[in-house]
């Protein structure tokens, strides 16, 4: 009934390109832990593995951060810079301050180091990390969104955007303005016109 399903046919395996399990469209990208990488190494001795080294990132305010390559390449932007050979000494990130960069690195580290999140415990742990990670003031939250966008870290971008979306969901326009300190620049006539256009949303 089940034949030839084992994976011995894999000839090239790189832990940077991970098989994904998109059960739901929003599931986060999973990382392999070091023990899993070691396990694969012993089972597939002919596979070519990319070597792990450290990368230096420089924030806009001149601070440097040394991170494992595996953590740094959670950012597609950094990954492409490395592949294009621009990462000899350090990678400058003029759009990210040290405060935000250190948070981003913390996020990427946690997501790379968590063992395969099929295990319930690991999944719960990661979820609770994510929930705590976004408990920050608005200024930091939006800086994280901008950083995740610039660095192209999809899971962080999804997480931070979802947090803001949850702050908007179910609120009236006035409540939204209050939450984010947005000025109402509509005239009363304009406001009435917009409300009429979209009346069905307010039912």
């Amino acid at each position: 009934m089940l034949k030839n399903l084992n994976s011995k046919h894999i000839q090239r395996f790189s832990y940077k390109y991970l098989p994904q399990f998109p059960i739901s469209p929003n599931s986060p990208k999973l990382g392999f832990s070091r023990s899993q990488i070691a396990n694969y190494r012993s089972n597939f001795p002919t596979t070519i593995m990319s070597s792990s080294k450290t990368i230096v990132l420089r924030s806009s305010d001149g601070e440097t951060f040394e991170v494992d390559e595996a953590v740094a390449v959670e950012s597609q932007t950094i990954k492409h810079m490395i592949e294009d050979g621009c990462a000899d000494t350090s990678i400058p990130l003029p759009n990210v301050t040290s405060k935000i960069l250190s948070k981003v690195i913390e996020y990427c580290k946690k997501h790379v180091e968590t063992p395969n999140a099929d295990e319930k415990v690991a999944e719960e742990d990661l979820k609770s990390f994510d929930a705590d990670f976004v408990k920050v003031d608005q200024s930091t939250l939006f800086d994280l969104i901008l950083a995740a966008n610039y660095l192209n870290i999809k899971s962080l971008l999804d997480l931070t955007c979802q947090t803001v979306a949850d702050m908007i969901k179910g609120k009236t326009p006035e409540e939204i303005r209050k939450t984010f300190n947005i000025k109402n620049d509509f005239t009363p006539e304009e406001e009435e016109e917009v409300r009429r256009e979209n009346a069905w949303a307010f039912e």
Binding site: M1, L2, K3, N4, L5, N6, S7, H9, I10, P19, F21, P22, P25, D137, Q138, S139, F142, I145, L146, N149, L157, D158, C161, Q162, V164, A165, I168, K169, G170, K171, T172, P173, E174, I176, R177, K178, F180, N181, I182, K183, N184, D185, F186, E190, E191, V194, R195, E197, N198, W200, A201, F202, E203
Partner: protein, 262 residues
């Protein structure tokens, strides 16, 4: 109304670019995204061109489950909102179309229209979840919306959605012929998930270059055999009555879940 109480009452969000605000609005069911149009001038029309249209009716489904008399009215409103958004959609592309509400074959003309709109706009993900608040599959699949056999720009009996990557259907009837057309005419199709479809009895996918990676069949009452072989399937999930299952030569298969319900 202006609030000026110091440094933590600054408006950070309207400084974000439109692209990023659009990303955030995409994560909201359309009904909540529309409300943002009344917040400030900059956001007035942002929600109208979101690439991901998520018509999530779960709120109303909960209300209907408490009072069945609301069903017809809420349905009318739901259909109205979908038509309103689709009617005024300006962008040349739609990435995702998600319909999540209690609809059935009575609404086929409308749903056919929505699908034609999505195909025209080169949709990549289609999700049709025609469930009530309990999320059950229908006992009588005859009531299900039948996926149309003519979804091509030429209006002939061909299902042609070349841009399609992901397909999620619940309480939608898909025939074997239509499934075959998906596999032939949608070269980028990676994910197929079918819950509660009538008509499907035998599925055979073998020996062709397919991008299909994730395949899920759930509670299809007529299912009698599934044969999958010689392609790069990564995950297969089956739930339903026991049937003849043949899986061979699937070297990339990582996840296999079969729940046979006796």
């Amino acid at each position: 109304m202006e609030v000026d109480e110091g440094s933590d009452s600054k408006d950070f969000i309207t400084e974000l670019s439109d692209d990023i605000v659009a990303m955030i609005l995409c994560l909201l069911p359309i009904k909540y995204a529309v409300v943002t149009g009344s917040v400030c001038k900059k956001w007035r029309f942002l929600w109208r061109n979101l690439r991901k249209l998520n018509f999530d009716g779960t709120g109303d489904l909960t209300r209907i489950s408490r009072d069945w008399r609301l069903l017809n009215r809420k349905r009318q409103m739901y259909v109205y909102q979908v038509n309103d958004v689709i009617g005024s959609y300006n962008h040349p592309m739609v990435e995702e179309l998600r319909i999540h509400f209690d609809l059935d074959n009575d609404h086929r003309t409308l749903i056919d229209g929505w699908l034609k709109f999505a195909v025209k706009k080169k949709v990549e993900t289609i999700e049709l979840y025609f469930v009530d608040n309990e999320h059950h599959t229908r006992f009588l699949t005859t009531y299900n919306y039948n996926f149309p056999l003519s979804l091509s720009h030429r209006n002939d009996a061909v299902v042609e959605i070349p841009s399609l990557k992901k397909l999620y259907l619940k309480n939608v009837n898909v025939t074997e012929e239509i499934l075959e057309q998906f596999l032939t005419n949608s070269p980028h199709l990676e994910t197929i998930s079918i819950h509660g479809s009538g008509y499907l009895t035998k599925i055979r996918v073998s020996g062709r270059p397919l991008n299909l990676k994730h395949f899920e069949i759930d509670e299809c009452p007529m299912m009698s055999s599934i044969h999958l072989s010689d392609f790069d399937l990564v995950s297969f999930v089956y739930k339903g009555q026991p049937m003849n299952l043949n899986l061979a030569n699937l070297p990339n298969l990582r996840k296999l879940i079969c729940s046979f319900i006796l």
